[in-house]
Symmetry: C2
Subunit: 190 residues, 2 copies
Amino acid sequence: MNLSPLAQDFVLHFGEMGSRWGINRTVGQIYALLFVSQRPLNADEIAEALAFSRSNVSMGLKELESWRLTKLQHLPNDRREYFSAPDDVWAIFRTLAEERRKREIDPTLSMLRGAMLVTPGTDADRHAQARMKQMHDLIEMATMWFSDMQRLEPATLKQLMGMGATVTKLLEMKDKLKIVAGGKKARGLK
Amino acid sequence: MNLSPLAQDFVLHFGEMGSRWGINRTVGQIYALLFVSQRPLNADEIAEALAFSRSNVSMGLKELESWRLTKLQHLPNDRREYFSAPDDVWAIFRTLAEERRKREIDPTLSMLRGAMLVTPGTDADRHAQARMKQMHDLIEMATMWFSDMQRLEPATLKQLMGMGATVTKLLEMKDKLKIVAGGKKARGLK
DNA sequence: CTAGATTTTCAGTAATTACTGAAAATTCAA
DNA sequence: TTGAATTTTCAGTAATTACTGAAAATCTAG
């Protein structure tokens, strides 16, 4: 691996982290490399930099494409394909979250909804169903909220996040405003 | 596996899902079983229900304990240990999130912080460092926000989530209030 | 078209991870 | 204490997943 120590640490770390998620080490390393690279890389360059086989790189890139995490481009007078990671880290995060939802959350919700439709035959099943409903409701709420957030402008989202728990101050304020709502409305404060 | 079809679907699904995360199939199934079970189960009962070896169950339970996801208790006149999942699904979610932060986010942040301290020798390293900073800032912001949220009362959190993107209405309202702030303050609206 | 360049596929193998049974360690009632 | 009940450990094996090289497929300049 002929990378600077800085890049190498990063790449190795993401390889490790990748394997803690379902993503394999190779794929994690490839993405980390693309992420820090100044310019798009072709498959041979990646194979060279990370010292694994050309075919392994091909498979890794295919996997990353299926996650919609790479940009593909061509350079003038070069038939090879060049890969890079999107510039905007928020966009990357978003894509990752969307893709995970599609692959993991949606199937889980649909399994749980299916389970809700079964008429429980035993007491144990009645209990199991109630538990599944709790889980279903939690996941559904978190997911809906998350997709709501994703629709916001990055700037707004950042502002909200920056506020952290102080958003609750706004909530309290809203409640107080309600108490004296008539007056507010009259003065055009929505 | 002598479970009702309802429970079996759930258990098998979580086995699959587990293996998509770093968690192995066995562990996922054990947790799913505990989650839907009406009463705490001992290791033999789990091994029996899921049809794997006693030692495998022992390892699986140890893994779950390391994630702080199980409750351990004893029944009168029974030396065996009985395991169950916490009742509150929010609490489970929280624990999971905390534990993942400790294991995955914190080490990543510290690696990235370390990388910030290196004096870049090349142009490529300067770029890599800038990229790592972007990632660092995103992760740090998301994490801080998340831990802020965790400190809220579950009810407040639920209220906030239920509002989804409409929290931004509050933001807009706040901005408008600022414009006429003097008046508000005078009336004790904070 | 065609031939060189490039990418993908895939069967075989290597590496890793999961699982088991047997043995060791621990726990606790008597 | 002791010993039966219970849990944990761990070396060996099974199963799964990752990786490679070679061959096939695809692409494109001429």
